[in-house]
């Protein structure tokens, strides 16, 4: 395009181009950023408004900072009497307090120590009850008020200046929050399924997924190499017919096969077993084409030389062709990995007993993160764990992947 031009107009176009690209990149990356940060959050932290990308915990300061001993002291944030925002450490959560309401504004509450205020001797009738009138301190000014309630509350000390203290009701104050990732989300979600420890059994699903993925990829590589070689290099009767059938098979959507495959698995008693996720998927028409294409591109002279040398076809295949075909095998392995790792529909159909020992990641996540989801933070920790391997594989195998998804239309 016209990007090679120079001049201010071209520069403007170039800047606009990058702005567009970055905007789209933000749209792509942002949901992942939400996922990763949510995976480190506390569950209460997820459901606060406004949403935030920073995992937070309730703030504390060491007890020694406010002249106490023992556990760290929780910090709350609320404005002081002069409406300046401040951070307050709760040094005594069970102080005796009294709520006063000024006579000129009965809606307002002044929280003071239970011993504060002086009786003026007068009384006032509130809702039919006679109440004593007190003279209380309200931010320096003395106001007339009645004591509406005795309660217990908190004695707060300013974090910045420990000599300043206020009394307030604890449930009126909002806990201050500070950066605090929760790493145990990951250990909890991986732990064995157990309502007591809140373990979600994702660890077991992860091993199952790894096992299934490795075996599917190995199976696909072996069958595709053999089949691809036969189609590319061996002249045999019926080859073109069989190849045409393979080509046609690509047109059949998997939904058509779901029910008969399910029936087949029932007959051989493979339902609810990992083998049902492996054996039927160790054969791939796509992979066979991929290997065939590659073998067709290898010069025949190499093979002929080895044949003259007295080598058998299988020796040639494994010792000569396969080492040359590494890029194609890498492509095949990448596709097989992503397919097996991410597949969901078939596991949903065939592994449905709810027994966590047989589940794979996608299935466990769909159960955990589905409609009756609790512990959203753990669900996201699991999601991040499930997404990381395919993304890493993609990033490392990009070369094979991007080039070949374009040239073979694999999906």
């Amino acid at each position: 395009m016209s990007v090679r031009r120079k001049g201010p107009k071209a520069t403007a176009i170039r800047v606009a181009t990058y702005v567009l690209l970055v905007c789209v990149a933000v749209v792509v990356v942002f949901p992942f950023a939400v996922a990763v940060t949510t995976a480190f959050k506390r569950n209460t932290d997820i459901f606060t408004y406004p949403p935030s990308l920073v995992p937070k915990k309730e703030a504390t300061i060491p007890a020694a900072d406010v002249g106490l001993e023992g556990d760290p002291v929780p910090v709350y944030s609320f404005p002081d009497r002069d409406d300046r925002p401040g951070q307050w450490a709760l040094v005594d959560g069970d102080a005796s307090l009294a709520e006063f309401r000024p006579l000129d504004d009965l809606e307002r509450v002044i929280v003071l120590d239970v011993k504060a205020g002086e009786k003026t001797g007068e009384t006032i009738s509130i809702d039919g009850e006679e109440e004593d009138v007190y003279l209380v301190d309200d931010g320096g000014a003395q106001v007339e008020a009645y004591r509406s309630r005795l309660t217990s509350g908190g004695l707060f000390v300013s974090v910045d200046d420990p000599s300043t203290s206020v009394l307030d009701l604890v449930n009126f104050a909002t806990p201050a929050r500070e950066f605090g990732p929760r790493f145990s989300n990951f250990t909890e979600v991986l732990a064995e399924k157990d309502p007591e420890t809140n373990g979600k059994g994702v660890g077991r699903s992860l091993t199952n997924t790894v096992l299934v993925t490795i075996l599917v990829v190995l199976g696909q590589i072996i069958t595709s190499i053999l089949g691809g070689y036969a189609f590319a290099r061996v002249q045999f009767k019926g080859r073109s017919t069989i190849f045409l059938m393979y080509l046609g098979s690509v047109m059949i959507p998997f939904v058509v096969l779901i029910i008969p495959l399910f029936q087949l698995m029932l007959q051989v008693n493979w339902r609810d077993n990992l083998v049902a996720l492996i054996i039927p998927f160790a054969f791939t028409a796509y992979g066979t084409f991929l290997m065939r294409q590659f073998f067709l591109g290898i010069p025949a002279e190499i093979e002929e030389a080895a044949l003259l040398d007295g080598a058998s076809r299988s020796t040639i295949l494994w010792k000569v062709m396969v080492p040359l075909a590494r890029p194609a095998i890498a492509t095949l392995a990448t596709f097989g990995f992503l397919y097996a790792w991410n597949s969901f529909f078939w596991p949903l159909v065939i592994i449905n007993s709810g027994n966590p020992d047989n589940a794979v990641l996608s299935l466990t996540l769909s159960t955990l993160g589905g409609r009756s989801s609790t512990d959203t933070n753990l669900v996201f920790a699991g999601t991040v764990l499930a997404m990381t391997p395919p993304i890493l594989v993609f990033l490392f195998a990009q070369r094979y992947f991007v080039e070949n998804s374009a040239s073979s239309g694999l999906k």
Binding site: A25, L257, P260, I278
Partner: protein
């Protein structure tokens, strides 16, 4: 290169003695085939489903006939007999070998192996890393793929894997598995299968030898066919059992009323298809008339108001028709939403400005991340009270005058009007990057001269895009549209996770054909009817695929389809 066959040395059995043994073995096979034929056709054995019984009968007859032919042929040293004997023995070896593994619990044992693996995951990963290192070491340090690579480094990888294997075995504790195999292998049926597997395997191995081929006078072409089929066989067997067979079975089942369990299966002809596709239309005097104005068995699909007259459109399977309507709407929205951005972005990425590969990689990530995780993330983004989407719309409303955010957070996925739209957003987000890469391949085939000429003529960016890029990418666009449509027609996973309060909700606003199929087959246990739905869906998809094949055949394929 000295690539000689260095297989294990076979005992040099004299060819004729060996062939006589094989003939004898085939005669045993004939006898066994007749016995199993009788067993399979024995009446009163209701434990076996009819299909399996039929399969066993056909299989026994085939085995008997094949053995008979092979026995006669090998006895007479007929030229074709070697091929017949090889094919028979090889297939028998595969079947009996699989049966043996089945009896030993090797297949279902994979599930149990998962338990051991779970206990010993760390050593397992060390093994994997070690083996990967062996694979990669040579390539990393040497450009020549044929070179063996530095042997020390490879040996280190092997050593690591070996040590970790010992650790793995200790950690995984396979004693339970071994004792189970020990128990099972001593059972008579298992021993019999083992004997069949061993005999057919040995016979195959013997007959495969070149000196036997010479003795039978096998032609070079025949030898080629045998070795071709041998190479293809693992693939072909899988293809037959897990693709072609099931495909046929699916078609058969779609003409039956079929339950998972043996009872309640009956042939119903094309009834399943009729039921799925039946529509009835009727005029009515009142708006919103109910089912009573339709034929019995039909339910109201929608109300229409044509030329001042109220019409009621009814269907026998309302949910399926609703799902067809939903998927049509979805297709119309989601396909352009995932293709148009790809067209524009690929045109920029094709320009070879610095950093384009980074953007390409970023855009591609959603399509590899796994649909379940993606759907879970978007579920949180769409959340009505604390979700980012509503929050960002609210903030945008503060800055931009034309954005009018609703007072309360909009419930994206649980509102009838926006549920399907939410699915469109997720689908487009997942797929536009993949389409961008498909388009990039198309860009490579646009002649550079066109752009140079446009540059000289002083065309602006829009003109170049409109007059050169878009027309030149016509074939790619067609290909991308078709593949995306085929993907969109099979929408299931996103809906399964995101829709509330039940899959396909609210009020069937997000029901899709695949979801309807799933519910019929696995929740309603109507597998025959669900198969018919699958074939209806296949025919719709096939329309798209066929269009693509026509296009590929007609035009030059700049769609990058090789």
């Amino acid at each position: 290169m000295g690539l000689r066959d260095r297989g294990p040395r076979t005992p040099r059995v004299a060819v004729d003695t060996g062939v006589q043994l094989v003939t004898a073995w085939h005669l045993v096979g004939v006898a066994a085939g007749i016995v199993s034929m009788l067993l399979a056709s024995r009446s009163g054995d209701d434990a076996l489903p009819a299909v399996i019984k039929l399969f066993m009968q056909v299989f026994s007859i085939a085995v008997t006939v094949a053995h008979l032919a092979a026995a006669y042929g090998t006895f007479r040293r007929m030229r074709r007999a070697r091929t017949v004997s090889l094919v028979t023995n090889y297939l028998l070896f595969v079947v009996s070998g699989s049966a043996l593994l089945h009896q030993l619990g090797a297949f279902t044992g994979i599930g149990k192996f998962g338990t051991g693996l779970n206990k010993a995951f760390l050593p397992f990963m060390v093994i994997v890393v070690g083996l990967l290192w062996v694979l990669v070491a040579g390539q990393l340090l040497s450009k020549n793929p044929l070179a063996a690579g530095p042997n020390g480094l490879r040996r280190a990888g092997w050593g690591l894997a070996a040590l970790a294997s010992v650790w793995f075995v200790i950690a995984a504790d396979p004693s339970g598995m071994l004792s189970m195999i020990g128990d099972r292998i001593t059972q008579p049926l298992t021993l019999g299968t083992l004997a069949v597997a061993l005999c057919s395997g040995a016979a195959t191995r013997f007959m495969w030898q070149r000196r036997v081929a010479v003795r039978f006078g096998t032609s070079a072409a025949e030898e080629q066919t045998l070795s071709g089929l041998a190479f293809l066989s693992p693939n072909l067997i899988g293809f037959t059992f897990f693709f072609a067979g099931p495909l046929l079975f699916s078609l058969v089942v779609s003409f039956f009323e079929w339950k998972t369990t043996g009872t309640g299966r009956s042939f119903v002809g094309i009834d399943n298809y009729v039921r799925a596709l039946s529509l009835d239309i009727s005029s009515s005097d009142v708006a919103n008339a109910g089912n009573e104005v339709l034929k019995p068995g039909y339910q109201v699909l929608m109300h229409l108001d044509w030329f001042g007259q109220n019409w009621v459109l009814g269907a026998r399977d309302v949910e399926f028709w609703i799902s067809l309507r939903n998927i049509a709407i979805f297709l119309v929205l989601a396909v352009p939403a995932s293709v148009l951005p790809a067209l524009v972005l690929s045109s920029i990425l094709a320009s070879r400005l610095p950093g384009m590969k980074v953007f390409r990689a970023i855009y591609f990530i959603p399509s590899v991340a796994g649909v379940i995780g993606v759907a879970i993330i978007w579920g949180q983004l769409f959340q009505s009270t604390v979700g980012w989407i509503n929050y960002l719309i609210l903030r945008a409303g503060e800055i931009l005058p034309f954005v009018d955010p609703p007072a309360e957070g909009h419930p994206w996925v649980s509102s009838n009007s926006t549920a399907l739209l939410s699915m469109v957003v997720v689908f487009a987000w997942m797929n536009f990057g993949f389409n961008t890469v498909l388009y990039l391949a198309g860009h490579q085939s646009i002649p550079k001269e066109l752009y140079e000429a446009a540059d000289i003529d002083g065309a602006n960016v829009w003109q170049v895009f409109r007059r050169i890029t878009v027309p030149q990418l016509r074939n790619t666009t067609f290909y991308v549209l078709i593949t995306t449509s085929i993907l969109a027609l099979q929408l299931f996973d996103i809906v399964w996770i995101l829709s509330t309060p039940e899959p396909g909700g609210p009020n069937n606003a997000t029901t899709t054909p695949v979801l309807a199929l799933y519910e019929e087959a696995f929740q309603g246990n109507n597998q025959g009817y669900a198969s018919a739905l699958a074939w209806v869906l296949f025919l719709i998809i096939f329309g798209f695929t066929f269009a693509q094949f026509r296009q590929q055949k007609d035009g030059a394929t700049s769609g990058g389809v090789s």
